[in-house]
Symmetry: C2
């Protein structure tokens, strides 16, 4: 149970068997179909999800249009708004494949981070990593053409490029679906 989740955490920092058991004891296995809204508009979900299997995407709704900010096929997905600011999320998360996840209450997650040094370290590091990814993506948006950004994305997240559909990838790259189709068509 949670084998992939725990393995992934151990690639980042040491997690003892006790901590792994602690994590298992406070989470609940959930299965979600494709297109399920894990964190959605107008609902204060209060859960975070460790992704065991499947792919999710996070996005904003900006006057009706979706802006994808990240894809996750491992690690944890949660809302910063809910976790740190006790408010309903402005960023939503949906599954784009069937997903097996382990659900945890955000209050519980926060408590773990405050009390368990292994999880606290893991938490700090995933925050740093996420900040770096965003930093990098921001730089690419400012300096690369649509085509170059897609090439970068293929290098960095080949899996996502295979598994997500064009519309989602395009909205992550900040271009239209038709432009992405043309880019892929070759030039």
């Amino acid at each position: 149970m949670m084998t992939r989740v725990i393995n992934d955490m151990r690639e980042i920092c040491p997690i003892s068997e006790e901590t792994a058991d602690l994590l298992r004891s406070v989470t609940r296995r959930r299965l979600f179909p494709k297109k399920h809204q894990l964190i959605k508009e107008g609902t204060y979900t209060k859960f975070a999800y460790f992704i065991e299997k499947g792919l999710t995407r996070s996005f904003w709704l900006v006057d009706g249009k979706e802006v994808t900010t990240s894809f996750a096929g491992r690690g944890i997905v949660f809302s910063m708004d809910e976790l740190y600011y006790n408010k309903a999320s402005e960023e939503f998360v949906e599954t784009i494949e069937e997903v097996e996840a382990y659900e945890i209450e955000v209050s519980c997650l926060l408590h773990l981070w405050e009390t368990n040094i292994e999880l606290s370290n893991w938490g700090r590091i995933i925050h740093q990593n996420e900040y770096r990814r965003l930093h990098r993506s921001h730089k690419e948006l400012l300096t690369l053409s649509a085509k170059e950004r897609y090439e970068q994305m293929k290098l960095q997240f080949p899996e996502v490029c295979m598994r997500a559909n064009l519309g989602d990838i395009a909205s992550y790259l900040g271009i239209t679906l038709s432009t992405l189709s043309r880019i892929r068509a070759n030039k």
Copy 2:
């Protein structure tokens, strides 16, 4: 000494007089002229700076062109690369006004974060805030026009818009200097 720095920290979370004194004991007051490189290419600086007065900007050099990622007129400036990854920074920082700052070694800063709960909390919160700022800026880049982004920037950082020069603001917004000039000229 460090009055503005400490006051700014106290707007974020409680800082006891002991912690303030601790901070004063491990920092050194420095004055820098305009255009001074605080964190520069090819030099593993190993220092972070609490900004008491003046304005700085952080930027990348992407094949010769500067891409401004943030301005700071308060708080702390440091390199994530140096702090977390023990490597020379890929992002540089220069003063764009005369700056009064308090210098601290990054190893010392890390040690404070690991041992002093007040500073640790302050550190976590500035990281969250910085992440949010970047997140927001990224969304704006993906959804707003050049003009709208400039309007947003004036709302969020009016001081910076007054004090930084056009080239720097333009490179922060991801547009050319001439476009920004035209935007300001009115339309």
